[in-house]
């Protein structure tokens, strides 16, 4: 449909204007066209990814031992009749495939179903809990980047020095410590010993900004640790490679200060690896998020996901995973766009190919 409209416009303009302008218009239209096609392809890819993830998620959940009906009724009320009627009520007596397609059909119309356990609509659960997780991940990534970028720049500018080695040691320490261990350490130091921040629990924004951020700080820190280490490694390696390039010698021979050389000359060509890692990390972060949210008892998606899995609340799990997948794909589409901004030589269409080559 877009295609026809565009063509129509082109034809109209062609008729009206002189030859010179026509050429310009056509070129512009083809470019818009390419962008539109790119966008459509992305959209198709998103749909394909979502479908595959849904199928895998649905199948794997059904492979798990346990029965939601039994879990809901508990040991006391689990007479065979009660279980059977509940299973019928929940639609669990239907064959696997038909259950999946019923869910898919509803999901396409925006209805993610109701939680088996609480009976609350899944979309409502997500709407309540997603903001907490979103905020937690944003803050943690901000902390990770704010710590990783300067330390990588310093390490690369003074590569091989004592400072570089010191930072490397620290980073490898952090990298090899699981996030929940860091969480425990933070709780012990800041909550138990110093008593500055609450050990667990969540204060909503209505209790004041300080309280709110205070309750998120320790979980965000434990979630930031591993990404910080990864980002520092990736950026340092890219920077060191950039420092080996001739144009950095030229910058030096121009007599500009090392700080300026680092920030203005070395940074931008070295950002691609870091950008890729941020995109990928945000996806893998959900695993750590489940643990950290449970540890600090935050009412986020991660904790809810853990809860839903252990309660065999298939519908809730499906819905949450779907949302997480969409977020992941969107973040990486955004990262793809960022490549072109960082390095204009990587045009919109060739961006991913070029970068993948470089990163690999």
């Amino acid at each position: 449909m877009t295609r026809e409209t565009t063509r129509e416009t082109t034809r109209k303009t062609t008729r009206k204007t002189t030859r010179k302008t026509t050429r310009k218009t056509t070129r512009k239209t083809t470019r818009n066209w390419r962008l539109a096609r790119l966008f459509l392809l992305r959209l198709l890819r998103l749909a394909a990814v979502l479908f595959v993830v849904s199928v895998l998620c649905f199948l794997s959940l059904n492979l798990l031992p346990g029965d939601p009906a039994r879990t809901i009724l508990g040991v006391a009320g689990s007479s065979p009749e009660a279980v059977r009627s509940l299973r019928h009520e929940l639609g669990l007596d239907q064959p696997l495939l038909s259950r999946f397609f019923t869910w898919l059909g509803h999901a396409l119309t925006g209805d993610l179903g109701r939680s088996y356990v609480s009976g609350q609509p899944v979309s409502e659960i997500i709407a309540q809990r997603a903001p907490v997780t979103l905020e937690l991940i944003l803050i943690s990534q901000l902390i990770a980047l704010v710590c990783a970028i300067p330390s990588a720049v310093v390490a690369a500018a003074k590569r091989g020095s004592l400072v570089d080695r010191g930072i490397s040691l620290w980073v490898f320490g952090v990298l090899s410590t699981p996030s929940f261990v860091i969480g425990f350490i933070l709780i012990y130091v800041f909550a138990v010993r110093l008593g500055i921040y609450p050990a667990s629990g969540y204060n909503s924004l209505s209790t004041g900004l300080g309280n709110h951020l205070g309750s998120l700080l320790l979980p965000a820190l434990s979630l930031a640790a591993a990404p910080f280490a990864l980002y520092q490694r990736v950026l340092r390696a890219d920077l060191v490679e950039t420092y080996g390039q001739e144009f950095m010698s030229v910058a030096r021979a121009k007599g500009i200060s090392p700080a300026r050389a680092a920030v203005r000359h070395a940074m931008r060509p070295s950002m691609l690896g870091l950008t890729t890692s941020v995109g990928v990390t945000v996806g893998t972060l959900i695993g750590a998020d489940v643990i950290v949210e449970s540890l600090f008892s935050l009412p986020g998606l991660g904790a809810e996901l853990a809860h839903a899995v252990s309660g065999r609340d298939y519908v809730a799990v499906q819905g949450i995973v779907l949302v997480i997948t969409i977020a992941f794909v969107l973040v990486n589409a955004f990262v793809d766009l960022l490549y072109g901004v960082i390095d204009p030589r990587l045009g919109a269409s060739s961006s991913t190919a070029g970068v993948k080559e470089r990163v690999a």
Binding site: G160, E246, A251, R252, A253, K254, G255, I256, R264, R345
Partner: protein, 355 residues
């Protein structure tokens, strides 16, 4: 500043640069001495690995003390470069001495627009505002012959041709009116027609702004046409040096004449094929005893393998020095071999190579 310091732009005395490596110490530059006056152009010629680039970077003070051991003296415009701190060297770079590198694509920033890169060099003088620097960058682009300078200033390196890129690199080098430009193989990455134009540009700039030039090249023809004096380097040492006309007319050191014989000539009359120099340059971690060229030299005698010859001045040609036990030229086959120096009539090679 004393009298001696003001009359010479650059003095290099007994410069030695060594790199400790796993295979032993590599002496890339060995006892090199050079002089250069204001506005004078010096060519340094040699094969790859002869130490030309290390020499040029050391003159600039770009070699890092962590990786290289440097002894000797480099006096640039009255200041001893090697004794300066990193900070004072930095204040000298761009202002007193600037460098043009071999590959203009890799020596320009891949993302920063070229105008901005030049403006950055201009803004070394703190008083210049951002806007003034931008205008000055466009002016500089015009000076080095980039057409449509105002538009090109917004372009990035990959959007320009090789010749344009090298012009941009030169504009960057002259941004702060340096007294000395060191050009490390500035035309090697360019094709021949573009090469000629870039070399003419260097000539013009040196004349107009009285810039001293050290031009490093492996191409005798390039150096011969565009410099006043020449120094031939072999395995980290100076083999021969002197005014271009003298060195070309009567090369004394055997390596120099072998280099000249290796240049293809197209003079039609005598169909002499270029004669390649056999063998490879020596491994600098384990250089041959005596004259370093002796293993490859057709005229080497016992003395050559035993002791290194010192630089000796050619009689009647002040400033023309060579380091050879059996000096002479074998560029002209009949009669010319043997004792090449002396008041011989104008040599055919000079006109051929210099043309």
């Amino acid at each position: 500043m004393n009298q001696a310091a003001t009359e010479r732009l650059l003095t290099v005395r007994d410069l030695r640069v060594e790199f400790p490596t796993a295979d032993g110490t590599v002496r890339a530059v060995d006892n090199v001495s050079l002089d250069l006056g204001y506005g004078e152009r010096l060519g340094i010629v040699g094969e790859s690995g002869s130490g030309k680039s290390v020499l040029s970077r050391t003159i600039m003070g770009l070699t890092r003390s962590r990786t290289a051991r440097v002894t000797g003296e480099v006096i640039l415009d009255g200041r001893s470069v090697l004794d300066l701190s990193e900070r004072s060297r930095r204040s000298m770079w761009g202002r007193d001495v600037a460098m043009v590198f071999q590959d203009p694509l890799s020596s320009l920033h891949p993302i920063m627009p070229i105008g901005e890169q030049i403006a950055e060099a201009v803004r070394r003088d703190a008083s210049v505002t951002r806007r003034e620097a931008g205008a000055r960058a466009v002016q500089l682009l015009e000076t080095v012959g980039v057409p449509l300078a105002a538009q090109r200033a917004k372009a990035r390196a990959h959007e320009l041709s090789g010749g344009m890129r090298q012009r941009v690199a030169i504009a960057m080098a002259i941004a702060c009116r340096p007294k000395l430009i060191i050009a490390d193989e500035p035309t090697t990455a360019l094709d021949v027609t573009v090469q000629a134009r870039i070399l003419d540009l260097f000539d013009e700039l040196c004349r107009e702004f009285r810039i001293g030039l050290v031009m490093i090249s492996h191409d005798l023809g390039v150096v011969g046409r565009h410099t006043d004096r020449i120094a031939v380097m072999y395995a980290g040492r100076i083999a021969e040096r002197g005014p271009v006309a003298h060195v070309f007319a009567r090369p004394a050191m055997r390596y120099t004449s072998a280099l000249m014989a290796a240049i293809p000539r197209h003079d039609g009359a005598r169909r002499t094929l270029p004669r390649p120099i056999r063998g490879l340059p020596p491994n600098l971690a384990d250089p041959p005893a005596g004259c370093r060229f002796s293993p490859r030299c057709a005229h080497a005698g016992d003395a050559c393998h035993e002791a290194a010859p010192a630089l000796v001045e050619v009689e009647g040609e002040p400033g023309h020095e060579y380091a050879c036990w059996h000096p002479g030229s074998d560029v002209t086959p009949p009669g010319g071999a043997g004792q090449g120096q002396g008041p011989a009539p104008a040599h055919p090679t000079s006109s051929e190579v210099l043309r």
